[in-house]
């Protein structure tokens, strides 16, 4: 099958590669572009481990063709930290023990990142509703909620400060 030229912005950088139309975004990110931070869990659109930001919305990159990202702005977990400094969401997961094995964490953090842009001051119920597309086999979710709350406070105080 012929490969197609694909160009998009990844974590603020312009990237290009050749892909088959049937390749999924998750595979191109990991295998062609070497960005292995985004994980593959179920590959059936259920677990959310593959969550990335696509033009300002959270999506499951196992259920989008790479060619659909043509000209788009994609952000993955590798784009969270800036100048060696952790993003408040990452800091929250560290401080509040929001992970155990860490497999779900890149997807959790990318969803939390976008959720806090959509709703900077969510209630606990809103966090649970907003994070419902991400599964975790380890933590029981309590500390994930606390991590998101930590990040919300930190982002709010940065805005006010």
């Amino acid at each position: 099958m012929t490969r197609q030229h694909l160009a998009f912005t990844l974590n603020g950088r312009q990237v290009e590669t050749l892909v088959e139309p049937r390749e999924l975004l998750i595979h191109v990110l990991r295998e062609e572009l070497g960005q292995t931070g985004t994980h593959i869990g179920c590959e059936t659109s259920h677990c959310g481990a593959c969550t990335v930001d696509l033009d300002g919305i959270s999506v499951k990159s196992c259920t989008i063709l790479a060619v659909q990202a043509q000209g788009s702005d994609v952000m993955t977990v590798e784009g969270l930290a800036k100048n060696g400094e952790l993003h408040p969401v990452q800091e929250g997961f560290m401080q509040e023990h929001g992970l155990q094995c860490g497999f779900c964490t890149p997807g959790m953090m990318m969803r939390a990142y976008r959720l806090l842009q959509e709703n900077p001051n969510p209630t606990e119920a809103e966090i649970r509703w907003g994070m419902a597309g991400n599964l975790c086999r380890c933590t029981g979710y309590q500390n994930i909620i606390k991590s998101v709350q930590y990040a919300a406070r930190k982002l709010q105080s940065a805005k006010e400060g």
């Binding site: 099958m1 197609q4 088959e20 139309p21 049937r22 390749e23 999924l24 595979h27 590959e43 059936t44 659109s45 259920h46 959310g48 969550t51 919305i57 959270s58 999506v59 499951k60 259920t63 989008i64 063709l65 060619v67 659909q68 043509q70 969803r111 959720l115 509703w129 907003g130 994070m131 419902a132 597309g133």
Partner: protein, 291 residues
């Protein structure tokens, strides 16, 4: 898990889509949100030779109201339905159903048109569209036609849409003041399809029910319109006794498959219970009290 080989097309206009559909017909599939189609392609249940991606056509998106009709573009996402001030005010049944579909990421991609066109009885919007008497606008090489959501579903994955037709928009007569609506869905967890669900639309004339729309999700090979249940309520002041009779009529038409959600008897029973709850809730919403 990756799909089989296909040629990818990303047309920029509806006209181009129609041309491609005319050219490839049943060799082609339209790619909307992709959250039913891509999983099917990964499993090789679907192997289209041509994939026509309609995500780059802005006219297929959006919600507006003109002359008592709400128009929703086929590519409007579940998240957009939930956020719509127009729908929350004038037709809250649609955002209510969208909120119990899948999860935030899936709802960011999944579209109303895809959910309606898919033809899977477990999709939630078809019953909602039937209860609301929605019209579906289809366009193909032979022109445009408008069909009712009632009658559109003929079997599992079998609809009135021809292989070369594109669903353009969904039209819903704006429910008049005095209408109560509710969608009640039983599911085991976030991201699960319905064990059973009921969509109810009640138009009241004072205390009397002038018109009822009741439809059921995932309890037969197609979504079901529960006409006999509607007739129990129409022309009457709805009380618990009538609600029970309507639920019995709704259960009488169920023919669910046994699956991990339960056996046929349980799922039929749950369809009855969802019907009772949705009627009570719709009444409560329009009258501010339960019967």
């Amino acid at each position: 898990m990756i799909p089989g080989h296909f040629a990818y097309h990303a047309p920029a206009s509806v006209e181009e889509v129609i041309t491609l559909l005319g050219q490839y017909g049943d060799e082609a599939s339209v790619l909307a949100g992709g959250h039913s189609l891509l999983p099917m392609m990964k499993l090789r249940f679907a192997e289209p030779a041509h994939l026509i991606d309609i995500n780059r056509i802005p006219v297929l998106r959006g919600i507006r109201e003109t002359q008592g009709v709400i128009h929703i573009g086929a590519m409007t996402t579940e998240s957009e339905l939930i956020a719509s001030a127009l729908l929350n005010e004038k037709c809250p049944l649609i955002p209510e159903a969208a909120r119990v579909i899948a999860d935030p990421q899936v709802r960011n991609r999944g579209t109303l048109g895809g959910d309606v066109a898919n033809g899977d009885p477990s999709n939630d919007h078809p019953a909602v569209m039937m209860a609301l008497d929605a019209l579906l606008v289809l366009r193909g090489p032979r022109g445009e036609r408008v069909v009712s959501a009632n009658g559109f579903y003929q079997g599992t994955y079998l609809t009135q849409r021809e292989a070369d037709e594109l669903l353009i928009e969904i039209r819903i007569p704006t429910p008049p003041p005095g209408t109560g609506q509710a969608y009640c869905k039983l599911k085991r967890k976030t991201g699960d399809y319905a064990t059973a669900a009921a969509a109810v639309v009640l138009q009241l004339d004072g205390t009397r029910c002038r018109k009822a729309g009741i439809a059921l999700t995932n309890v037969a090979p197609t979504p079901l319109r529960a006409d006999a249940a509607e007739r129990v309520l129409e022309g009457k002041v709805i009380d618990e006794d009538l609600i029970e009779q309507a639920a019995v009529q709704a259960m009488a038409i169920c023919d669910p498959a046994e699956d991990l959600r339960g056996d046929a008897e349980y799922r039929t029973h749950m369809a009855g219970e969802m019907t009772r709850r949705a009627i009570r809730l719709a009444l409560q919403r329009v009258q501010g009290k339960s019967p």
